[in-house]
């Protein structure tokens, strides 16, 4: 069924897209997403993937072409990063509003200025409200797994939403990791060909992307909100099926050594594996510290998060993006907002770490925990803390 390989994670993602039998790919290369689309381009050119590869002149066009392709009922994939994602901005809302099941990998990277090609989550956090399903992965295997599963989630007629897989730029895209690849037969069985709900078809014409008057706009937004909220059950169903198939079971909020933890670190993406090392060391030193890792960013898993923090006194949210001029960075704002209505809730402190590729060692998390414990003793002195900033 599967075989173990050592492979650059970008190449593994492009093989996942190949195994998913994507029929159309429209992409513009941008660091650090480049290897994914370069390799897909080779697979198409070599006849190893029967797909239309559209070499567009910008990411705005890449997303526009993806919408056109998905509207015809073709299984459509694209990938981007940072400025490329920002350039797609206006089209991203159209893809989700039209309920087209496009799958996109975002190789997360900092936004300019200053120009910086390295990893943080500034790009995707600027797009958190685009109405797509958004999932974070933390290693190569997860990148591969979720790249296949995303198609099955997006194309479900009860879902019909475009889906983003967020993988950390360079940290994941450019490293070689051991991972299990599934064979074509297994993936074919798991992921049948796309059955379009409605498509552009001259034999049965429809109008897509029509306008809505003030009397209808609110209702269309409600329908979109409900679709995104209700996609939760279908996402979990696909993850369960994958778990039964591969033994790798994914959850909306992953927990690491949270039993009896009074202090919880919370973060998304590959940095969680560094935090696990810190948690191990703190546990050995007798500190009741655990880690929670929201995997599902949209729809936000309110119930899972509330359950995960139930026994904790303090949640330390590590954001990898800023909300300049605001009081809380994107993940912290979401977490605080989710916990605020609870009668008994932990304190929530926000730390921004690893911006623009700044290296984060396990010691950073240990220092953060000591700092946070001290802060809540005296009452927090800042709205948020920018970890490791000089001066």
């Amino acid at each position: 069924m599967g075989h173990r390989v050592g492979m650059e994670v970008s190449i593994a993602v492009s093989h996942a897209v190949q195994l998913a039998r994507a029929e159309a790919i429209a992409a513009y290369p941008i660091t650090p997403q480049t290897h994914i689309v370069e390799h897909l381009s080779s697979l198409v050119a070599n006849g190893e993937l029967e797909a239309e590869f559209v070499t567009v002149e910008s990411e705005h066009s890449a997303m526009s072409a993806s919408i056109g392709s998905a509207a015809t009922g073709a299984r459509t994939y694209t990938a981007t990063s940072s400025q490329g994602l920002a350039l797609m901005h206006e089209i991203l809302f159209i893809a989700s509003g039209m309920r087209l099941p496009i799958v996109m990998t975002v190789a997360n990277r900092a936004l300019s200025a200053p120009l910086n090609i390295w990893n943080d989550h500034g790009d995707i956090m600027a797009e958190k409200d685009i109405g797509w399903i958004q999932i974070f992965v933390e290693n190569g295997q997860e990148s591969f797994d979720h790249s296949v599963m995303a198609f099955k989630i997006a194309e479900n007629h009860q879902v019909l939403l475009p889906t983003i897989i967020n993988m950390d730029g360079f940290i994941l895209t450019h490293v070689v990791e051991p991972l299990e690849m599934l064979d074509q037969e297994t993936v074919d069985k798991f992921l049948p060909p796309l059955v379009p709900y409605l498509k552009l078809d001259t034999k049965k014409p429809v109008t897509m992307g029509a306008f809505a008057m003030p009397e209808l706009y609110t209702e269309t937004k409600m329908a979109h909100q409900m679709a995104l909220t209700n996609s939760y059950d279908h996402i979990l169903e696909v993850w369960r099926e994958w778990g039964a198939l591969t033994g790798r079971q994914y959850k909306p909020v992953e927990k690491y050594r949270t039993e009896g933890a009074k202090v919880l670190l919370l973060l998304m993406g590959s940095l969680a594996e560094v935090a696990e090392v810190a948690v191990d060391e703190m546990r050995e030193a007798g500190q009741a510290v655990g880690l929670i890792k929201p995997r599902l960013w949209r729809p936000f898993p309110f119930k899972d998060l509330r359950e995960a923090v139930a026994g904790a006194d303090l949640v330390i949210v590590c954001d990898r993006a800023l909300s300049l001029g605001g009081g809380a960075h994107p993940v912290m704002a979401e977490v605080r907002s989710a916990l605020y209505p609870l009668a008994k809730r932990p304190q929530v402190l926000g730390y921004a770490v690893g911006l623009g590729g700044r290296d984060v060692q396990p010691q950073v998390f240990k220092d953060m925990v000591s700092h946070a414990l001290n802060e809540i003793k005296q009452g927090p002195t800042e709205e948020f803390y920018l970890v490791g900033v000089r001066g």
Partner: protein
Amino acid sequence: MSKPWDQVTWQEIEIGGVLTEPGSARAYRTGDWRSMYPVWDKLRCIKCGVCWTVCPEAGISEEPDGYFDMNDYCKGCGICAKECVTGCIRMLPEEG
């Protein structure tokens, strides 16, 4: 959609706002917000059709008797009145 727009619930909207029936533009009478409307003086009209030709919005229709009149899509821009060969079109204000 057979229901009036302001009675449609979110559950009734087709996924993605797709319109599965043709001709929905016909139901939306885009001329209902005009503030001026054209009136033809049939005594001076020579049925040349210049008004019909220059109308940018297909807001003028030919009548069975060969004269022209505005339809529900006329926005009252007045181009027809300006271009009319014999000057037979006057723009009048919509009342109420």
